[in-house]
Symmetry: C2
């Protein structure tokens, strides 16, 4: 099937660009690590929600996956992924029971920032006859979940270590807001500070007699700085496979160009109304492309700008040659944020050049539980 | 099952409030119409995406449904709805063929703003052996799809009327931006201007010898003014069944209170991290509650404000008594915008008081085609 025959709106993967991204991250990380062993890759499945893509990442060296929700972990394990870390707190008793049961079929990790949660996880594993890998989350920059770097992590690590059915693995240390800082210097400084906090926390835990082998975290925007920091043993980059408008707007160190990944995810849309010369209305609104991080960007259409989206309509302002756009013309949009855009769709249409090569389910779409 | 047992995040309907909303709209419209026959109700299914809810609206007098997408119309017809208007242009040949085929099973309407589209619809109906109801869309205030009020609508109406397989029904005239104007005076004036444009357009079409019986449009924010305008023969209100934060922020005429509908749609969430006294992290982020129109509002939690949402996390800032919130506590959020929030979920959990009474599929979730 030719791309031109694919109905709109649809979620496209440009396979050539996607495959270059898949290969490029491990190459960069190995280069930046120099003589040291590079951090292992544990890509974040919240981006793609797809066991097929997780297996392709494994073929490029990924040791497992991360995800945010128990429901995502269940979909990954059902799709054959054998090592999944939920980079999040799981507190509902029903979810803890599901997580403990899932550990029969795969190696399952989870994060904690509360002592009562440690006890609940241990009790659920005792009932299920399983073990969970448990990480203490340290809030290294992003005030969200996790204890502050420093002594608060020590009693948590000791409690996990003392739990019969839990394995204390180390620290979850992700600096989310650093990922999108515009300049490489800002990102480097933010990551250096995050690393300092995580390093000091690890030292306190080890001084208390508990081994702290794994520091997991990291993202697409700071993968280079996180590698150079010589602290993280695992990187959790997710968006590098697809890129998006937000990551496209940040600058890399080399000559000020963008990140070294290519746009590989697009929303395929068409012109559904063309009554005014300066305006085209597209059939993709914010139920087809997430706009919480900004408007999408039209590809290969100089003079066209996406002004706004309603539920099912996108407004393109047209200048210059983009005014040639006709009713029914199809075009690609780069989403401002890939993760929530993927979550709006049931299928990826994977194209090689202009030909459809595969249709992959977004298997964990809507897995908010 | 008690609400407290429902896992989070979940999409809740408060059935008592929902049923009062279902009854209230036809009552208000009948009152405002006075001695005239009131506009018929054709509620918008883009809000609920559910045949079950469409049937409940029919039981309160709705003559049919609207929707935005052919895929939504297919789900409604499959669920037993016999009269569906796609309040939108349908231009892709494959979608036009689906629409013409669907007209075998139900009365199906569609909007146009382009002459070539009229010909394509007629040809598809000829092939399918069906007829479509066709409306000319007039852009009465919202510069989106539709021709300007005035003479541009006349050749379209004539072309539809002259098409062997199409029925010219009248005008689609929806003033979207008027719905959320804050004060009743602003809304009244905007609707009066929209009505003037649609009325003049209808006069031109009728002067050209084409009957223009139906004027369809209208929304939750302006249903009263649209009724009083004595022009619209059908109202397309959607959000009135659920309400949301955006509609909750606008003021009604009577004493400056909000619209006469109650919040009946909530996202059920729980506290997943509680490390700082001034902050609680919820397990509902913008993959569970749409934020393109603003942050959600916590219910019955004085002092709590939702500051931001990430994909799977919501940040609550806590003051005063809301600081009693504990890890694992559950609470309800009012979404800022109901339609895209519904589209993130697969199921409604319908509760009567604190007991679950039904679980309804969001049957047309993701139907962007």
């Amino acid at each position: 099937m030719h791309l031109s025959e694919v109905d709109t709106p649809a979620l496209l993967i440009d396979l050539d660009a996607f495959e270059r991204n898949l290969a490029r991250l491990p190459t960069i990380v190995a280069e930046k690590a120099g003589n040291r062993p590079p951090p292992r890759l544990r890509p974040h499945a919240k981006t793609h929600k797809s066991p097929i893509i997780a297996h392709l990442q494994a073929a490029h060296g990924a040791i497992g996956q991360c995800c945010q929700k128990v429901g995502e972990a269940e979909v990954l394990v059902a799709g054959g992924i054998r090592d999944v870390l939920v980079t999040n707190q799981v507190v509902a008793p029903s979810k803890i029971a599901r997580l403990a049961a899932l550990a029969r079929f795969a190696r399952i990790g989870v994060c904690v920032d509360d002592l009562t949660n440690v006890a609940a996880l241990d009790a659920a594993c005792a009932r299920a006859g399983t073990r969970l890998d448990v990480y203490v989350e340290v809030a290294v920059g992003l005030a969200r979940c996790g204890v502050a770097p420093g002594p608060d992590a020590v009693p948590l690590a000791r409690a996990i270590d003392a739990s019969a059915h839990l394995r204390f693995m180390g620290l979850q240390a992700y600096h989310g807001t650093a990922q999108h800082l515009r300049t490489p210097d800002e990102r480097r400084d933010a990551i250096a500070k995050a690393a300092e906090g995580a390093r000091a926390t690890r030292a306190l835990i080890e001084a208390a007699g508990v081994a702290c082998a794994t520091i997991t975290g990291g993202g697409t925007g700071c993968h280079d700085h996180e590698t150079v920091a010589d602290l993280w043993t695992e990187l959790q980059c997710g968006s590098y496979i697809f890129m998006d408008g937000s990551y496209g707007a940040i600058r890399d160190g080399v000559g000020g160009a963008g990140l070294p990944f290519e746009h590989a995810l697009f929303v395929w849309t068409q012109v559904m109304s063309r009554v005014a010369p300066e305006r085209a209305i597209l059939d993709a609104g914010h139920k087809a492309v997430a706009i919480e991080s900004g408007m999408p960007t039209p590809v290969d259409l100089p003079g066209a700008t996406c002004l706004r989206c309603a539920d099912e309509h996108g407004w393109l302002a047209l200048e210059g040659e983009s005014r040639r756009l006709k009713l029914g013309d199809k075009l690609r949009l780069i989403p401002a944020h890939c993760d929530p855009t993927v979550n709006l769709h049931d299928w990826y249409v994977a194209v090689r050049g202009d030909l459809v090569e595969a249709v992959w389910p977004v298997a964990a779409r809507g897995a908010v539980f």
